[in-house]
């Protein structure tokens, strides 16, 4: 109904005016406190850092240069910025491991829920959704209490005499991984469940009927059918993992940084806002590439907006 060959008539003009009037307040707020600031961040990434934070309005490409490279203070030679690269590498590595971990725990769980009687499924899903909507800080903190040196696990192990000194679990890459799997697991189960619930089990029956074993049915019938769910879940877990801030901050204790913490550092002790801005844009770009790759694969199955 939008575009006719003759110019839009009065009714459509009115509809268009009403539409933009209704949209205006929301779009203004979003422009002011979401889209607009992103553009300013882009501008900041090509300015010169001020001595005490902030910027000097002088164009400079240093921030972008410093994202992955560094110049030696003494002889000006170029080299890879090992500190940044190792943080990028850790972010990507931990995010991938988190994704795999979430699949390992999430796939059987989603399958379990999808094979419950219809009436029970919503209740089981509620158990997944509740943690999803509870404070990420509280959930991270709950894990911290479990694994810290004075925490439940170490206390129990020492009390029972299995160990003499607490095992250092907190403030390691391992603890970040545990925390992120814990925090992002619901994001994996939700889309997996959605695709498994639609699974037609007569196809599974047909598979067994045609002499497939359980593993063959899983590999040749179930997995291909729920693949969209696995992809969606992986993206939903990978993207926030990559930009994680709270979990690595609490779990990593300041020495196991991820990109999010590196960005924060530039606005705190680092006092290099342009570098922080450039790192933010870099992170955003990586996330957007991942999201677009997802839309490409999922888009074929229908309009994506929900």
């Amino acid at each position: 109904m939008a575009e006719h060959s003759p110019p839009a008539n009065a009714t459509e003009k009115r509809a268009s005016r009403v539409r933009w009037l209704l949209l205006a307040p929301a779009l203004l707020v979003l422009l002011f406190a979401a889209s607009g600031p992103l553009l300013i961040t882009l501008v900041y990434s090509v300015l010169t850092p001020g001595d005490y934070g902030g910027v000097i309005w002088q164009p400079s490409g240093d921030a972008w240069f410093n994202v992955i490279l560094q110049r030696d203070i003494f002889d000006d030679t170029l080299s890879w910025s090992d500190a940044h690269l190792s943080i990028f590498w850790r972010s990507v590595k931990l995010s991938l491991m988190t994704t795999v971990g979430c699949i390992i725990f999430g796939f059987p769980t989603a399958y379990f829920i999808a094979t419950r009687p219809k009436k029970q499924r919503d209740l089981w899903m509620l158990l997944i959704i509740i943690p999803f909507w509870t404070n990420i800080l509280i959930r991270t903190f709950a894990v911290v209490e479990l694994i810290r040196n004075e925490g439940t696990i170490n206390t129990v192990l020492m009390w029972s005499g299995i160990i003499d000194a607490p095992i250092q679990m907190l403030f390691t890459e391992f603890s970040i991984l545990v925390g992120m799997i814990y925090v992002y697991l619901p994001l994996m189960v939700l889309p997996l469940y959605a695709s498994m619930e639609r699974l037609d089990f007569s196809l599974v029956e047909a598979g067994y009927d045609l002499y497939a074993t359980r593993m063959q049915v899983l590999k040749r019938i179930i997995l291909p059918l729920v693949k969209p769910g696995v992809i969606a879940g992986s993206i939903l877990v990978f993207v926030p993992s990559l930009g994680a801030y709270v979990t690595p901050r609490v779990m990593g204790g300041g020495n196991q940084l991820m990109i999010g913490n590196l960005i924060e550092l530039q606005f705190g002790q680092g006092r290099n806002w342009p570098l922080g801005a450039a790192l933010s844009i870099t992170l955003l770009a990586i996330v957007m590439v991942a999201l677009m790759a997802y839309v490409r694969t999922a888009g074929k199955e229908g309009p994506g907006h929900g």
């Binding site: 109904m1 575009e3 006719h4 060959s5 003759p6 008539n9 009065a10 459509e12």
Partner: protein, 359 residues
């Protein structure tokens, strides 16, 4: 007399790739007090046309007038027409009485008048006891009556009905068909009725417009449309039909002498204003034909199958020209055709029964 609704060259295109033409070029005049039916398969444009009259859709081109007044720029709430929706669209958060009174309330009628009209309407559709029920608590047939009463309450000049009976079961549908016809006579309101059910159309309508693929194929009274379909689509869509190849020998007005494949000549009916020559197709209704001995018949063939249907019997004939023909004969207790499968027989029909179809 000006028409109640006059549709001129109405066209509706939904842009897209490719564009979807919902209505190609429709022109109709619907008279006052008429029960007019738009009949056609789904996607033929009948609902689009109805929704344009209601004001829910806007024509791409063409004009739409009511008693000579242009409707184009009037929003739905300013058009003196009301709609009975296919889904009934009863407001779930209101009672039966509130639903029926809604239109009058919006028109700003005084409370007493609203109450009186609502009471009348509930009486009219026999829903008086249900006045305070929620719409979710009444049956499908009752919802149908409420939807009807709600649309009638503001006394519209034209009532639009969008397949209102399609959700009802067979028995209820039959009752409602008569009920609707009665209401239309009693109220004297013009009804425009949309359906894909040919039988419904034939029983209720004063006139029918048969539509397909966004085009109006034929307009006429039920009998006219059934007995004299103007083209193959209409003949095929309404009732069962035999298509018989023939060749026009001579014609005068709507009478044409045609030669059949057997060489015999019979008088058939030509659509008004047509001057067709050469090869044509005749439509012959199964119940308008009969079987006889090979010598007596117009078309010779072999009786291939006899199917008993209770009220009538179908005789499937394999004609010598290679086509098939079905004859339907009503069963009588004291009578049999005397033919059985494999017999050589002839198919017969009276002069004027065959209808020449437009290409």
């Amino acid at each position: 007399m000006t028409a109640a609704i006059s549709v001129r060259n109405l066209r509706k295109v939904y842009p897209g790739t490719p564009d979807v033409v919902a209505l190609a070029d429709a022109s109709i005049d619907i008279q006052d007090n008429e029960f007019f039916t738009l009949l056609g398969p789904s996607g033929c444009g009948k609902t689009t046309l109805l929704r344009m009259i209601a004001g829910f859709e806007h024509p791409t081109s063409g004009t739409l007038t009511m008693h000579g007044e242009d409707l184009s720029d009037l929003p739905p709430y300013k058009r003196p027409v009301n709609t009975v929706f296919q889904s009934y669209a009863l407001f779930p958060h209101m009672t039966v009485a509130q639903n029926i009174g809604f239109g009058l309330e919006m028109l700003g009628k005084p409370k007493a008048e609203i109450k009186q009209t609502v009471d009348e309407m509930m009486e009219l559709v026999k829903m008086t006891e249900m006045a305070d029920r929620q719409t979710g608590q009444i049956s499908g047939g009752q919802q149908q009556r409420v939807a009807l009463a709600r649309a009638l309450a503001p006394r519209p000049r034209v009532l639009l009905l969008d397949e209102p009976l399609s959700a009802l079961d067979f028995k209820l549908r039959k009752d409602m068909q008569l009920e609707l016809k009665r209401l239309q006579m009693e109220t004297g309101i013009t009804f425009i009725f949309v359906t894909h059910d040919q039988e419904e159309a034939l029983t209720m309508s004063d006139r029918i417009a048969v539509m397909s693929a966004g085009t109006i194929r034929q307009i006429g009274g039920p009998r006219d449309i059934y007995d004299h379909p103007a083209e193959r689509f209409v003949a095929d869509f309404i009732g069962d039909t035999n298509f018989v190849p023939a060749e026009v020998a001579t014609h005068k007005g709507t009478d044409a002498d045609v030669t059949l494949s057997s060489g015999k000549v019979v008088t058939a009916r030509m659509p008004e204003g047509e001057q067709m020559q050469g090869k044509v197709t005749l439509a012959v209704r199964p119940e308008h034909a009969n079987i006889s001995t090979e010598a007596e018949g117009l078309l010779p063939g072999t009786l291939s199958e006899v199917v008993y249907f209770g009220t009538d019997t179908h005789y499937h004939v394999a004609l010598d020209d290679g086509t098939g023909f079905v004859v339907r004969r009503q069963n009588r207790p004291d009578e049999t055709s005397g033919f059985s499968t494999g017999d050589r027989i002839g198919v017969q029909f009276a002069p004027g029964v065959g209808q020449v179809l437009r290409d």
